[in-house]
C-alpha cells in the first residue's frame, strides 16, 4: 500500500515551518479555519464550498494524491 501514500502534504507542512513569518501565517489561518469551523455554520459552509472548488482543480491536476479507491 506504500505506493498509494502521498508525501506531498508532509512537504507542505515542512515548507510552512521553513517559511518563517509567511509560513506561520498560513499555519495560523489553517488552524483558525478549523476552530471557527467547529462553531460557525457560515464558516463551515464556506470551508466546504472552498474545498469543493479545490477538488475540481485537483481532478485536473496529475500531481493530486492518488486515492486507493480509484484502483
Amino acid at each position: 500500500m506504500l505506493s498509494y501514500l502521498d508525501p506531498g502534504t508532509g512537504g507542505m507542512i515542512a515548507a510552512a515551518f521553513a517559511g518563517g513569518a509567511a509560513g506561520f501565517g498560513v499555519l495560523f489561518r489553517m488552524y483558525g479555519h478549523r476552530v471557527l469551523g467547529l462553531f460557525s455554520k457560515k464558516h463551515r459552509a464556506q470551508a466546504e464550498a472552498a474545498r469543493a472548488e479545490l477538488a475540481v482543480e485537483d481532478d485536473e491536476d496529475e500531481t493530486a494524491p492518488k486515492r486507493a479507491s480509484t484502483v
Binding site: Y4, P7, G10, A15, G20, M30, D61
Partner: protein
C-alpha cells in the same frame, strides 16, 4: 512532457504542446536570458523547420556538455555549489511566475569547474496555491547527502551511487540521530519533514490537510521563503575534514625534482608534439592536479582529473574555483570500482567508461597501487586502460622503486612475484603499441607513450 535525445553530437529536446508553452514563457523572461548569458543555464535555441511527430509541438537544441558527470562522482563542494545554483534559479524563476517542477542533482552538470543547469524542461508556469514540487527531491539529492557528510562525516558518494533517488528524509533522520541538532535546516527539513511525511502520508484520511493549507494561503511568497531558508542552510554547511590518506601527497616529498621534471616534460611533449592536439585529457589518480595543469599548459582544452580520495578532489575543486581555472573537471572515482550503469534498465546513468571518451589518458603513479594494493593482475590493468580507447601515457614503478617496495614489504613473499618490468612490458605490448619509453632519472620508474592496438 519533454524528451531529450541525441543526434550525433547534437543534443535535442522534443516537447509536447504544454511543455513547449512553458518553454515560451521561460524564453520570454528576463532571468532566463541573464542566466544563459552568465553560463548558469545551458545555451538553448528553438530548432525551426523540422518535421515533428504528432504529439510534439517543438524541438530545442542544447549546447552539448562535453563530459557528463553524476553527483556520486562529485566532492562535497561541487554538490554544494550545484545545490546553490538549483535554489538560485528556482527563486529567480518564481519572481517571474515560473517554478522548477523537480530538483534533481542530475539536472546540474559541470563545464569544468562551473555548474550549469541543463534541464530546461524543469521550468513550468507557477500554479496558484501549489507547493514547490521539487522540495522532496531537493532534500533527497542535495540537502540530505550534504548534511550526512557535513555532520556525520559519512561520504555521500557511495550512498548516492547506491540509489539514484538519493537519501530520504526518514533515512537521513535515522542517520543523523541526535547529531546536528543545532545545524541550521536539520530540524525543519529532516526531522519535521520525516515526521510530517509519515503523519500525513495517508491520502485517504478524512481531513484534507493539503486543501486546508492551500485555502489558508499557501502560495509563491511562502515558497520563496522556504527556498531562502534552504539557501541559508546550504550556505552554512561545511565539511571540516582536513586529512586523509592522500591529502598530503601533493608535496610529493618522495619524488626527486628531476623525476617530476622529466614526467612533466614527457606529458608536455606528448601533447604539444601530437599530430592533432588532444582536446580532452583524462588524468587518472590526479591528486592535486599537477599533471592536469601540465596538460592544459601544453594545449589540451579540458582535463578530467579523477582520484579516489574525495578530500583530495574536494581540495582540488576549491583551489581551481579560487583560481578561476575552469578547464579542469575534478571527480571522485575509484579506478578499481568505477561508476557502473545505474537507474532505469541500468541505462539511465551510464558507466564512467562508456561516458568519458578522452583523446589522451594519463596514468601516472597509479599502476603499482592497482597491482599491489587492489591486487589486480597486470594484464587486467592494461585491459582497463585499453577500454578507455585512447592513447595513453603510463608510468610503471619497478620492484625496487621506494614506493613500490613499501607496498611490497607488507605482502607475503612470493605472492607478487609477477610484478616486474618484463611482465609489465609483455602485458602492455599485447594491447598497446609503444611509441616511446624513458626511464626516469631515479632509475626506478619507466614512462611509456603508447596507442591501443
Amino acid at each position: 512532457m519533454s524528451r531529450v535525445y541525441r543526434d550525433g553530437d547534437t543534443v535535442l529536446r522534443g516537447m509536447n504542446a504544454e511543455a513547449f508553452a512553458d518553454f515560451q514563457h521561460l524564453a520570454a523572461t528576463r532571468f532566463f536570458s541573464a542566466a544563459v548569458e552568465r553560463g548558469d543555464i545551458v545555451r538553448t535555441e528553438v530548432v525551426d523547420g523540422v518535421e515533428l511527430p504528432d504529439d510534439w509541438a517543438g524541438v530545442l537544441r542544447h549546447e552539448r556538455i562535453e563530459v557528463v558527470t553524476y553527483p556520486y562522482e562529485w566532492p562535497f563542494e561541487m554538490l554544494r555549489d550545484a545545490a546553490l545554483l538549483q535554489l538560485r534559479l528556482t527563486r529567480e524563476a518564481i519572481a517571474e511566475k515560473l517554478i522548477t517542477k523537480d530538483a534533481s542533482s542530475y539536472n546540474v552538470q559541470f563545464a569544468g569547474t562551473r555548474p550549469v543547469f541543463i534541464d530546461i524542461g524543469s521550468f513550468e508556469r507557477l500554479r496558484k496555491a501549489e507547493p514547490w514540487p521539487g522540495y522532496r527531491q531537493f532534500c533527497e539529492l542535495f540537502l540530505n547527502p550534504l548534511l550526512v557528510q557535513a555532520i556525520r562525516d559519512v561520504p555521500f558518494q557511495p550512498l548516492l551511487r547506491g540509489s539514484v533517488h538519493g537519501i530520504s528524509p526518514v533515512v537521513t533522520a535515522d542517520m543523523l540521530g541526535g547529531a546536528g541538532r543545532l545545524t541550521k535546516g536539520v530540524f525543519t527539513h529532516v526531522k519535521l519533514h520525516a515526521r510530517a511525511e509519515l503523519r500525513y502520508a495517508d491520502a485517504d484520511k478524512e481531513r484534507d490537510v493539503k486543501a486546508e493549507l492551500k485555502r489558508a494561503g499557501f502560495g509563491p511568497g511562502l515558497i520563496d521563503a522556504q527556498l531562502k531558508n534552504l539557501e541559508k542552510a546550504i550556505a552554512g554547511l561545511k565539511w571540516d575534514k582536513q586529512r586523509s590518506t592522500w591529502s598530503d601527497y601533493g608535496d610529493r616529498s618522495h619524488y626527486t625534482d628531476r623525476d617530476l621534471d622529466a614526467k612533466d616534460e614527457f606529458v608536455r611533449v606528448t601533447i604539444s608534439g601530437a599530430a592533432q592536439t588532444p582536446r580532452l585529457v583524462l588524468d587518472l589518480g590526479a591528486n592535486d592536479g599537477r599533471f592536469s595543469r601540465t596538460a592544459l599548459a601544453a594545449g589540451a582544452s579540458l582535463v578530467v582529473a579523477v582520484d579516489s580520495d574525495d578530500l583530495v578532489v574536494d581540495r582540488l575543486y576549491r583551489d581551481l574555483r579560487e583560481e578561476g581555472e575552469r578547464r579542469i573537471l575534478p571527480l571522485v572515482l575509484d579506478l578499481s570500482d568505477p561508476s557502473p550503469g545505474l537507474g532505469w534498465r541500468s541505462r539511465e546513468r551510464l558507466s564512467f567508461v562508456d561516458r568519458v571518451r578522452a583523446d589522451l589518458v594519463l596514468c601516472l603513479a597509479v599502476v603499482h597501487h592497482l597491482a599491489l594494493t587492489n591486487t589486480v593482475p597486470l594484464d587486467e590493468i592494461v585491459t582497463f586502460l585499453a577500454d578507455l580507447g585512447a592513447p595513453i601515457v603510463v608510468e610503471f614503478p619497478h620492484r625496487d622503486d621506494p614506493m613500490a617496495s613499501r607496498l611490497l614489504a607488507r605482502k607475503r613473499e612470493g605472492v607478487f612475484d609477477a610484478y616486474d618490468l618484463p611482465n609489465w612490458d609483455k602485458a602492455l605490448e599485447r594491447q598497446f603499441k609503444v611509441h616511446d619509453r624513458i626511464t626516469l632519472p631515479s632509475g626506478t620508474r619507466t614512462l611509456y607513450r603508447c596507442t591501443p592496438r
